[in-house]
Amino acid sequence: MSAVLSVRDLGVTIGRSTIVDGVSFDVQRGQTLGIVGESGSGKSMTVLAATGLIDAPGAVVTGASRLGSTDAAGLDLVAATPTQLRRVHGDRIGFIFQDPSTSLNPLLTLERQLTEGPEAHLGLTRRQARSRALALLDSVGIPNPSDRLAAYPHQLSGGQRQRVMIAVALACDPDLLIADEPTTALDVTTQAQIIDLVRGLQEERGMAVVWISHDLGVIGQVADDVTVLYRGEAVEQRPIVEVFDEPRHDYTRTLLDARPVLGLATPAPADPNADVLLSIRDLDVSFPITTATGKSTVHAVRGASLDIRRGHTLGLVGESGSGKSTVAGVLTGLTEPASGTVTLEGRDIFGRRGTELTQLRREISMVFQDPFSSLNPRMSVAEAIAEPLRVHRLAAGAKGRRGRVEELLELVRLPREFADRFPHELSGGQRQRVSIARALAVEPKLMILDESTASLDVSIQSQVLELLATLQQDLGLTYLFIAHDLAIVQQMSHEIAVMRQGEIVELSSNERLYADPQHDYTRTLLAAIPPERPRAAASEA
């Protein structure tokens, strides 16, 4: 069998730093190679270098990457001239990128963006290219393609944009499709659809696919073979089932163990008779939205009701735009509710003033998603953690605060010396620990975790989740755990509420929700999660 793309000893250096080091792989016709790695592993750079699309300033590429043949007859994309590369880009190699909101030109119609490739490479006339574009839109599952040809990207949803991007990539029937994190910016249900679409198209057309992802679950769904990249080196390269079953490299094992998988873990049991700490009834929230063309109202939360018991974790799951973060905003005073009531220990939290309000801010604290922006870059770790202590006068003087800061750092398993560091000197996981320490400083009754681990690499994510679970046990904390990942929610929560378009569609205990989901949407969500075993394993059996 001859390889569509054959990469040998590929290296990329920028200045003195080595980004990719001696990576080799082959991709066969009709097969999918998955490239997996965490952020900074050089996975995108590897593929961009191998296909001659690298545009990082000052990048030097070494090694060879032959298109079409393993022998010298094929075109070496590393050594090829720009003209040679242009001839294969878009023709024999198609590309899909991560963010569908920026990868299509906002000022051109879909038709133009679909036809310009075939016109350049296949010498089609406008009319021929148009009917090809129509067929492409149809094949990627865009409804009413003939109406959509004249549309602009902003008129489509994110998932539809990614479908159009796939159509663009396939416009000239390429031998090789490069998919660089194509589902990372999408919701889990959309992700499942895109995975199915690409697999279907691959079966139909027999092209080779290189699929890059940070997510082993996704890679398991698409890949036949997998290359694990770690700090620019390929540490493991084998068929997907073997890698999943018997990982050889420690790093692969860490990735496999750390990834959230359904049904593996549930939280330590909590007292089922504990009193209700927080109670939300018929909560409605709407925002006015001002755009260039006028004002409109978005109904973010409609009639939401739920209870959180003391010492429990309530998981709030939903896709983007479901309103789950808006609930957190209402509880912390960042967002004004339209109607409804929320009580904490039986007392209404709305309409409080003065000291009562200050007290409330002490009782509910929150950890945000992005570890890079949730700490002020100009404040040291000690100043950040001490801020709530100062506001609520929780420690006596500078010395008292310092002592408490060090205690809190210990609590989140960070060395005391970190107190004098600045956020840019810390890694993402360390920053998130600092945020947790800051939220703990007020000894909150309820702690809101809003996608608090979603931006972390899986190996770091699992450590932070473990810390959160331990803290709950030791300090008897109550969590509102907001997430989009059902596997993580299962691992952390005692009760779970599923939100969709502002409404809570299902609210039940952890065990019941996963064993016997009542609502269709919950079932769709559960079905969309990549299973633990790779798909290739199922087809072999």
Binding site: I14, S17, I19, S39, G40, S41, G42, K43, S44, M45, A56, Q98, D180, E181, T332, G333, L334, L357, T358, L360, R361, R362, I364, S365, M366, F368, Q369, D370, F372, S373, S374, L375, N376, P377, R378, M379, E383, E387, P388, R390, V391, H392, F422, H424, S435, R438, V442
Partner: protein, 300 residues
């Protein structure tokens, strides 16, 4: 992906004061700008002391002499030494620029922070006011103010200060808005931190970058505006020498005494250029992402 992550920390990292100056001076063009500014500042201080002739010492016999060993920049139509006048005028140009930009900075920052942090109707009113100010060309508005108050040094400072206030208000508001939605400010609000603490500890330190850049660029434009006003006879008044006024005086002698216009004009040009170069260098270091349309409103 790798690239963006490699670059992200560099952009997000606030450089310490020492490394910031180092970064700034690495750029040779910026370094040149800094050196020129240093020289201009020294001249502003010691200019009157080292000037070889009195600025208003007329000597009609010696009028319109080309540059020579005695008169490096020649003499004007009244026989005054152009070199001495250029030296002495430096102080007043810098003084007007610094005073007016300081005025604009203080008022603009207050308006911008109030506007950007409180939002609501007050924001709308203040920003409409700023829009109204932007509808007038800077020089025209300054001339109108001079027409109201009558020409003079104080009026010049006030007029230039007023016309550059809106840009500071807008830069401050824009930066405040973008910092105010940062999760670390949101986090502070959820903790119950008071507005004063948030403004002082979270917002102000994080908007200084754009403000420093704006200050440097505004100093450049303030010097140009002062020169233009003085050129029109509406700025600094004789007998106090000013670069703009010297150019006004040179108008009638363009063909016969080129030195009368070349040297004062070059003084303005070089000073403004230095401020602009330093401003650009500062932006590259402090505010790399700000390539906004806002900048289009900064001039004149």
């Amino acid at each position: 992906m790798t690239m963006s992550e490699k670059q992200a920390p560099a952009a997000a990292t606030p450089p310490s004061r020492g490394s910031l100056i180092g970064l700034l001076l690495q750029n040779k063009v910026t370094l040149a700008g800094c050196i020129v500014l240093l020289i201009v500042a020294v001249v502003a201080i010691i200019g009157p002391l080292v000037a070889p002739y009195g600025v208003n010492a007329t000597n009609v016999v010696n009028a319109l002499q080309p540059p020579s060993a005695e008169h490096w920049f020649g003499t004007d139509d009244l026989g005054r030494d152009v070199f001495s006048r250029v030296l002495v005028a430096t102080r007043v140009s810098l003084l007007v620029a610094v005073a007016s930009v300081a005025f604009a900075l203080v008022i603009g920052v207050v308006v911008g922070i109030v506007s950007g942090y409180t939002r609501g109707w007050l924001d709308t009113v203040l920003m409409r006011g700023v829009d109204v100010m932007f509808a007038f060309p800077v020089l025209l508005l300054a001339m109108a103010i001079v027409a109201i108050l009558g020409p003079g040094l104080l009026t010049t400072m006030l007029a230039i200060g007023i016309v550059y206030t809106p840009i500071f208000a807008r830069v401050t508001r824009g930066s405040t808005l973008s910092v105010a939605v940062e999760p670390f400010v949101q986090a502070s609000r959820t903790m119950g931190t008071g507005s004063f603490f948030i403004l002082r500890r979270h917002i102000l330190p994080n908007i200084t970058g754009p403000l420093i850049v704006q200050t440097s660029l505004s100093l450049a434009f303030a010097i140009l505006s002062e020169a233009a006003l003085s050129f029109l006879g509406l700025g600094v008044q004789p007998p106090q020498p000013s670069w703009g006024r010297m150019l006004f005086d040179a108008q009638g002698f363009l063909g016969m005494a080129w030195w009368m216009s070349i040297f004062p004009g070059a003084a303005i040009f070089i000073t403004v250029l230095a401020f602009n170069l330093v401003g650009d260098g500062l932006r590259d270091v402090l505010d790399p992402r700000q390539r906004t349309i806002l900048e289009a409103r900064r001039r004149r």
